[in-house]
């Protein structure tokens, strides 16, 4: 495991996301309304929808395919849906975002 530099914090849109690719891995980094960052595996546990394309609300994202709601902190599906997507650690140093992979 190591910290990898991703991008400048401004490059991740507020209430939006960026997709990052590392080898075979696709990860979505989100910025909430409060400016908090989260990273999860970019696959909904339901039918592998790109979570990076979903609407961000509170600390959650709603999958664009079938509206599952995923908690960005835990990666877990909310409500009556069951499933979990992997989460990743992030840190910010000098306005640069780093991910632990």
């Amino acid at each position: 495991m190591a910290w990898l530099e991703v991008t400048h914090i401004e490059n991740i849109p507020l209430m939006g996301s960026r997709k990052i690719i590392y080898k075979e891995l696709e990860i979505a980094i989100f910025k909430t309304k409060e400016g908090e960052l989260f990273a999860v595996h970019n696959e909904c546990p339901h039918k592998k929808g790109n979570l990076s394309e979903g609407i961000v609300h509170d600390k959650m994202v709603t999958c664009p395919l079938h509206s599952w709601v995923i908690d960005l902190k835990s990666g877990e599906a909310q409500g009556s849906d069951c499933g979990c997507t992997k989460t990743y650690e992030l840190k910010i140093e000098n306005e640069m975002v780093y991910i632990r992979l």
Binding site: L4, V6, I21, G49, I55, V56, V69
Partner: protein, 813 residues
């Protein structure tokens, strides 16, 4: 310190209020409940099933002991409050102990009303209100004795049915000539009587009880016609009377019931009353739905959530006797000023009566076929103008050729029949979920089973199942549009109309959203309503409140790639355009190219990062976005028309191009499709579009609200125009009226079915100046909306975020 809330009464309205309070604020109050009965809160409506043996007592419990524990609600059973000391804010119980309160709710319900008759003091003369009454009945009845039930109302019939189910001879005495005369007219009453006679109930109509004879216990009953029968049990179900003893003892104003205002407050400070014991605006209620409506408002008041107060209820009734389908609501009798629509098939045992006043349903009686009960009730509550449905109204929703969820009778569905195609939920799953999880609202069923949670086209069916499963416990109401709020589309729209907002979050604040940011359901809706009010020049369309397709101007596919559809005006293209598209498709290695149903070319399988360069190339060739993703005009489909066709009467191709240039751009509540056919042969299939234009010799016919979706709905004829100018005028007016009047994600077909065609016609055809208003509003919106979103998002730099961030693999040693 928590405030002290005391609730006198442990019945359904008391507990529903407490549940609602807890849902608003778990920590505000220390709650104590006093109940006279030795039980936890059970479902009094189910007593008839308990009596007939179709359910056990356990089945009827709503709040189990652990519920009280988990919610830290203190329950004193077998404990009657005698007196309220308003000065000292204390209540005193039968054990002479006193308890302090800050807020007090009286929910003492009602008592059976037993008319003054000789012999009512005897043992085994009882009411039918409590578990104890049911126990007495079950212990007393025996096959060689006759039971007498007095009162031919809902409760009396249920009691008689329950007793007769045990094989006991049961006589029902009723003072008028019709059963359920409070809810049914004479015809339905007779059908019901015939039906119940099959269960072995004997009727004595136009009779009362003269005398009940016996020493200690009942031995015989004498009727007013002199007939005397041997009997060991008399059940009085001759109505209820509000239990207001405590208010009287405590000097709180009463009439029939304890007087309350719109916020359920009594004339005494900090003291509220709810349910059967209270009287609001001259009415007392004995059915459960109104009580729940009151509970909701009272809970808001107590929990300090803003509320507009309780405004009275329209009640509806269902009889819970297996094998008898009966429903009534509103003013079912009518008078000189009303009209009636009646369908009667005595042999099949079907009777339907709708009472109309000024083209609105004001009363409903259904017997034998109650499948459309919820639909009629909705039309009644929403005061929908039914003038254009009138001819088919009695045949029910299925008779309309509706646009989404009619045509299915849930009673006829088997448990394994699929209701929600999106989420694969069957009828049996839903019924089971409602029963085991005690679900009460459409929202709860949606959340628990996922039925109707996706496309929503089955919600009507789900609602019917809910109505059938719950009976009169079901409360139809406008639900919050999502779990973030308790307001429906109507309220949100009104609020936006009457106030000024800069963004969706200000709306959330004003309407007391439970979440800070909203969710993927409410944010796009509120964003849309703001956009329609202010137009693109005065409101910045919030990208982050748009669903993916509307945000990135392409349609997301199951694998996360997108489809790209350039606009091909009116479906007419040229060799040069086709060549350009072909070259671009080759350049970007597009895996699938397909003609769409709307006469466009769809390039499927495009990666997100390819969108920007592809759009650039398309723009350079003169293409703009075909907006195949948009909640806005998608396509105008055309037939060949009189330029080539030997049957064509009008130039449909040119008209299609003109209409497309006129209407593309502005967002609409849902996608919007138009088609133009050059003659009534209608090769452009215009009669299943949102607007269908059909050329005739003398001009154009305009048809609206068609849909080719899950359930096909053919358009309604709107009007005929002679000139192209008039055609453009009405298309603009219709689109703008739809934009402003419909709810978000409501197609024209559903919208017109909800509001009625007459309503749309009245708004646009009656008075040309009104249509002119909408035309001008549409033109104003189009000024700022007709911007190619592809070019705009490239120019504004938005497409930068489409590019993935690729991290270089770290060397691993």
């Amino acid at each position: 310190m928590k405030e002290k809330l005391i609730v006198i009464g442990n019945g359904m309205s008391a507990l529903r209020t407490v549940e609602e309070i807890l849902s608003h604020n778990k920590n505000k109050y220390q709650i104590t409940i006093f109940g006279e009965e030795p039980h936890v809160n059970y479902n009094r409506i189910m007593l008839s099933y308990l009596l007939s043996g179709e359910k056990t007592f356990e089945d009827t419990i709503i709040n189990h002991e652990h519920w009280y524990d988990e919610n830290s609600v203190m329950l004193y059973r077998n404990n009657k409050i005698l007196y309220i000391d308003k000065e000292k804010k204390k209540v005193v119980c039968s054990l002479n102990q006193s308890y302090d309160y800050d807020k007090l709710i009286i929910a003492t319900g009602s008592k059976p009303f037993i008319p003054q008759t000789k012999g009512t003091q005897l043992q085994n003369v009882i009411g039918f209100r409590t578990k104890a009454d049911v126990d007495t009945i079950l212990q007393t009845i025996s096959k060689d004795k006759t039971a007498v039930v007095v009162g031919g109302g809902l409760l009396g019939l249920e009691a008689a049915y329950g007793i007769a189910q045990h094989g006991v001879k049961t006589i029902l005495v009723h003072r008028s000539s019709n059963l359920m005369s409070q809810q049914l007219d004479a015809t339905a009453g007779k059908l019901l009587q015939k039906n119940l006679e099959q269960y072995g109930i004997e009727f004595r109509l136009n009779q009362t009880i003269e005398e009940i004879k016996g020493d200690d216990e009942v031995q015989a009953v004498k009727f007013s016609n002199g007939e005397e029968v041997e009997s060991n049990l008399v059940v009085f179900a001759t109505g209820i009377t509000p239990n207001i003893e405590i208010a009287k003892n405590s000097d709180i104003a009463t009439n029939k019931g304890i007087l309350v205002d719109d916020f359920l407050q009594t004339h005494a400070e900090n003291i509220y009353a709810i349910g059967e014991c209270c009287e609001h605006d001259g009415n007392t209620y004995g059915l459960v739905a109104p009580l729940f409506e009151q509970a909701k408002e009272l809970a808001k008041k107590i929990a300090d959530v803003p509320t507009t107060g309780y405004k009275g209820s329209i009640t509806s009734t269902r009889l819970k006797v297996s094998g008898v389908d009966l429903f009534s609501a509103g003013d079912y009798l009518g008078d000189m000023t009303t009209e009636e629509l009646i369908l009667l098939d005595a042999k099949a045992g079907v009777y339907k009566k709708l009472v109309l006043f000024e083209d609105r349903i004001i009363g409903v009686v259904l017997y034998g076929d109650t499948a459309d009960a919820s639909w009629y009730l909705k039309l009644l509550k929403e005061e929908t103008n039914i003038a254009d449905l009138r001819a088919k109204l009695l045949y029910g929703k299925a008779g309309l050729g509706d646009a989404g969820h009619g045509g299915n009778d849930v009673n006829a569905m088997s448990d394994d029949e699929e209701v929600c195609g999106c989420n694969g939920v069957c009828k049996g799953d839903i019924v089971m979920a409602i029963k085991t999880n005690d679900l009460k609202t459409l929202g709860e069923v949606k959340a628990c089973t996922k039925a109707g949670a996706s496309c929503g086209s089955c919600l009507g069916l789900v609602e019917q199942i809910l109505v059938n499963t719950l009976g009169d416990e079901y409360q139809a109401k406008e639900e919050g549009i999502c779990s973030c709020c308790e307001v429906g589309h109507k309220e949100i729209k009104t609020c936006i109309d009457n106030n000024e907002f800069d963004n969706v979050y200000e709306v959330f604040k004003k309407l007391n959203w439970k979440t800070k940011d909203g969710c993927s359901k409410c944010r796009p809706a509120v964003n849309y309503y703001l956009l329609v009010k202010y137009n693109d020049n005065k409101y910045k369309n919030d990208r982050r409140s748009a669903l993916v397709n509307d945000r990135v101007f392409a349609n997301i596919q199951k694998d996360g790639t997108y489809s790209v559809v350039p606009r091909i005006w009116g479906g007419l293209t040229s060799p040069k355009e086709l060549k350009d598209i072909a070259e671009i498709a080759v350049k970007y290695d597009v895996p699938t190219v397909k003609f769409t149903g709307g006469q466009r070319l769809d390039m499927l399988g495009v990666k997100k990062e390819q969108l920007e360069p592809m759009w650039k190339d398309l723009n350079d060739c003169g293409f703009v976005s075909g907006q195949a993703y948009a909640k806005g005009l998608r396509t105008v489909k055309t037939c060949v028309g009189n330029q080539w066709c030997r049957f064509g009467t009008q130039d449909s191709m040119q008209m299609g191009i003109d209409i497309e240039k006129l209407t593309w751009g502005s967002w609409t509540p849902h996608k919007f499709k138009i088609a133009v056919s050059g003659c009534p042969r209608n090769c452009a299939e215009a009669t299943i579009k949102d607007i269908g234009v059909i050329g005739v010799d003398s001009g154009w016919e305009i048809h609206i609200a068609g849909n080719g979706g899950i359930k096909v709905r053919v358009t309604d004829f709107f009007c005929k125009v002679a000139t192209d100018e008039e055609l453009f005028f009405y298309i603009k007016a219709i689109m703008q009226f739809y934009r402003e009047d419909a709810y978000y994600l409501e197609r024209t077909a559903h919208w017109v079915e909800r509001v009625g065609l007459e309503y749309v016609k009245e708004a646009l055809l009656k008075d040309k100046s009104k249509a002119q208003y909408y035309v001008e509003r549409f033109e104003e919106s189009q000024k700022y909306a007709q911007v190619d979103p592809w070019q705009e998002s490239i120019n504004s730099g938005f497409t930068k975020e489409f590019e993935p961030i690729v991290l270089a693999p770290k060397e691993e040693f």
